[in-house]
């Protein structure tokens, strides 16, 4: 029988009848339990979750009809088959009306019982499958993701499809779309979930340390190598190695990575013997990898090794009402964290959030909501609490018009602070910034300027100010600042490195 391991609950108060049914069902390879009363049936159905119930209508405590009604009321979804005696077919018809899938007349032969059960179990399996498919199509949570849009459903389906395989996954998408979250989801949905998930940001690690970070080194391999140290490849053995910003990897390192991807073996820096590991590689970049190949910045052979299963993370502007789902999630989290009352958004605010393009994607939305939760309080987020950038983006009106319409450009509290303190100096050299004490409060509205002359900053400027302010708040503790900003510390290290590079080139 197809449903060999299915569970069948026999609800029958006469032991002989229960014994006959049980013996026949066991010969079909089914798991069987017996309940002698309606109450026992309810208890067993909840505790044991049978796939089908063979229900006698005449029970000592209450009727089978009543038992069926209570089972359905308690959410029991087992296929119920009513067992009836000759002359009780009307009862069976009534039972069918009340949700039984079939009935069987006693005494029944094994063949009849087999067919009846098989039909009932197949019907139930189809109903369950249909419900699961519907749930998958409409799910709004998935391994840390929030979103019910068709674009995200496609992402969820791809992750589920590839999770069980060892195939390498290549994630693309704009900054802030959740590439690292996707990599984690691939890992957690896979059979490797109990093993390590190791992240390495190829763009955040100095070129000369990258090989050691990936493959490890032995004591004395280079100046400062005072001990043997395992690299990410070794640490990820049995699990998943996530190579973020793979496009930043220098070409000479790409050769070594290619050998590792091809053979699963690597040689720690300074070691004489190769080591072998079992690692699944998930890579990510916010660039177009094929453009990088064509530009000669990324090896074509490595591209083909890593780009086995492509996974594209959609930008927030293509995710429809996911914006509101995510905003609501962040608001609840940050309001709790900041001990604020904020419980939702006014309808007008929702319209603004939905209309805005979110060039910084989920990360930008997160920062905006955090900003609101830090600076404001009340039952609901009002239009006046939004950063002006959003209002302008949503309405298309110039900032002045928005302000005239009653939406202040700057939060009064922020304006007050900014009026009393000098504008935050744009840092030119990260080291200097790290040792200075910027005056701008953490999470101040990026647009806020006392004179309103320059009302628009680039996203990069906003991000830089925000990160440096967070670092200042965290006493230059990068991991703590990263936690405050809800990003990986490697993101901040990478940014600092980039700014350092910019500062150095501006000096030359």
């Amino acid at each position: 029988m197809a449903a060999a391991a299915s569970r069948i609950l026999i609800v029958e108060d006469t032991p002989t009848q229960a014994e006959v049914a049980g013996a026949l069902l066991r010969t079909l390879g089914l798991e069987v339990r017996v309940a002698e009363t309606g109450a026992a049936a309810l208890e067993q159905a909840q505790a044991w979750r049978p796939d089908a119930i063979l229900m006698d209508l005449d029970l000592p405590d209450f009727s089978g009809f009543e038992a069926m009604r209570r089972l359905r009321a308690e959410g029991v979804e087992a296929a119920i088959i009513v067992v009836t005696a000759h002359g009780s077919v009307n009862h069976a018809v009534e039972a069918m009306r009340q949700g039984a899938v079939d009935f069987i007349v006693k005494p029944y032969a094994k063949a009849r019982l087999t067919v009846t059960l098989q039909n009932a179990l197949e019907k139930r399996a189809l109903v369950t499958e249909l419900r699961e498919v519907k749930a998958q199509l409409g799910r709004d949570r998935f391994f840390g993701f929030i979103g019910a849009s068709p674009a995200m459903q496609a992402v969820y389906r791809t992750i589920e499809s590839v999770a069980a395989s060892k195939a390498n996954v290549f994630i693309t998408g704009e900054s802030g779309t959740g590439k690292e979250l996707a990599a984690e989801a691939v890992h957690h949905a896979s059979p490797r979930k109990g093993r390590p998930f190791i992240t390495l940001n190829c763009g955040a690690i100095p070129r000369d340390l990258l090989e050691s970070e990936i493959f490890g080194h032995v004591k004395g391999a280079f100046t400062g190598a005072t001990d043997n140290r395992s690299g990410a490849a070794k640490l990820a053995d049995g699990g998943t190695l996530f190579l973020d910003e793979i496009g930043e990897m220098p070409l000479d390192m790409q050769v070594k990575l290619l050998r590792f991807v091809q053979t699963g073996t690597f040689q720690p820096v300074g070691a004489s013997r190769p080591e072998k590991v079992d690692v699944r590689i998930v890579s990510a970049t916010n660039r177009d990898p094929w453009v990088e190949v064509e530009a000669g910045r990324f090896r074509e052979d490595l591209y083909y090794r890593l780009y086995v299963v492509p996974l594209h993370m959609p930008p927030l502007r293509e995710r429809g009402s996911d914006v509101l789902l995510i905003a609501a999630h962040f608001l609840a989290a940050f309001a709790r964290e900041e001990r604020k009352r904020l419980r939702g958004f006014e309808r007008a605010v929702e319209q603004v959030l939905a209309a805005y393009a979110w060039p910084g994607n989920v990360r930008q939305l997160q920062n905006v909501v955090r900003n609101i939760a830090v600076l404001h309080d009340g039952d609901r987020v009002e239009l006046s609490m939004l950063p002006p950038m959003l209002l302008r983006g949503a309405t298309g009106q110039p900032v002045a018009a928005v302000e005239e319409a009653g939406c202040p450009l700057v939060d009064p509290k922020v304006a007050e602070i900014e009026r009393s303190e000098p504008p935050y100096p744009a840092p030119t050299e990260p080291q200097a910034v790290l040792s200075s004490s910027p005056q701008t409060p953490f999470a101040a509205t990026p647009q806020a300027r006392p004179d309103h002359e320059e009302v628009f900053q680039s996203l990069a400027e906003v991000e830089k100010r925000h990160i440096l302010a967070a670092l200042d708040r965290a006493d230059q503790d990068v991991p703590r600042a990263a936690a405050m900003l809800g990003v990986n510390p490697s993101t901040i290290y990478r940014k600092l490195q980039a700014w350092r590079g910019e500062a150095a080139s501006s000096r030359h």
């Binding site: 108060d13 006469t14 032991p15 002989t16 009848q17 014994e19 006959v20 013996a23 026949l24 066991r26 010969t27 006698d56 005449d58 005696a85 006693k106 005494p107 032969a109 094994k110």
Partner: protein, 124 residues
Amino acid sequence: MALQCERWIVSAIDPEIAGQLASDLPREDFVRIVRTFEDDLGRLARILETSVANGDEDGYRRAAHSLAGAAAAVGARRLEQVARIAMDHRNPADPRALALQVRREASEALAELAALAEHPPGAD
């Protein structure tokens, strides 16, 4: 009173039902069913007799109902029919006589089932 049980059913058990069970199931399962049936008969017959003695009509009909179900499950057709007569409110048959007949039919059904368990169809 001549009971309305169909005495033309020569055998106490229906070979189509009981024989099918005996051939469908492993012997130990069939034997266990016969033993369970024997336990049921003893228990239900006692309840039937006690209910008759106490004038407990509800208990009497419930025991008869259970007897009919148990008998039908193993193909004890004659016993099932007697039990169904006992279940029927409109039937004027004397409950004491019915209780006695239940005992008699039960014994015969058990004997034939035991024989069937000893020599299941196709065993020879």
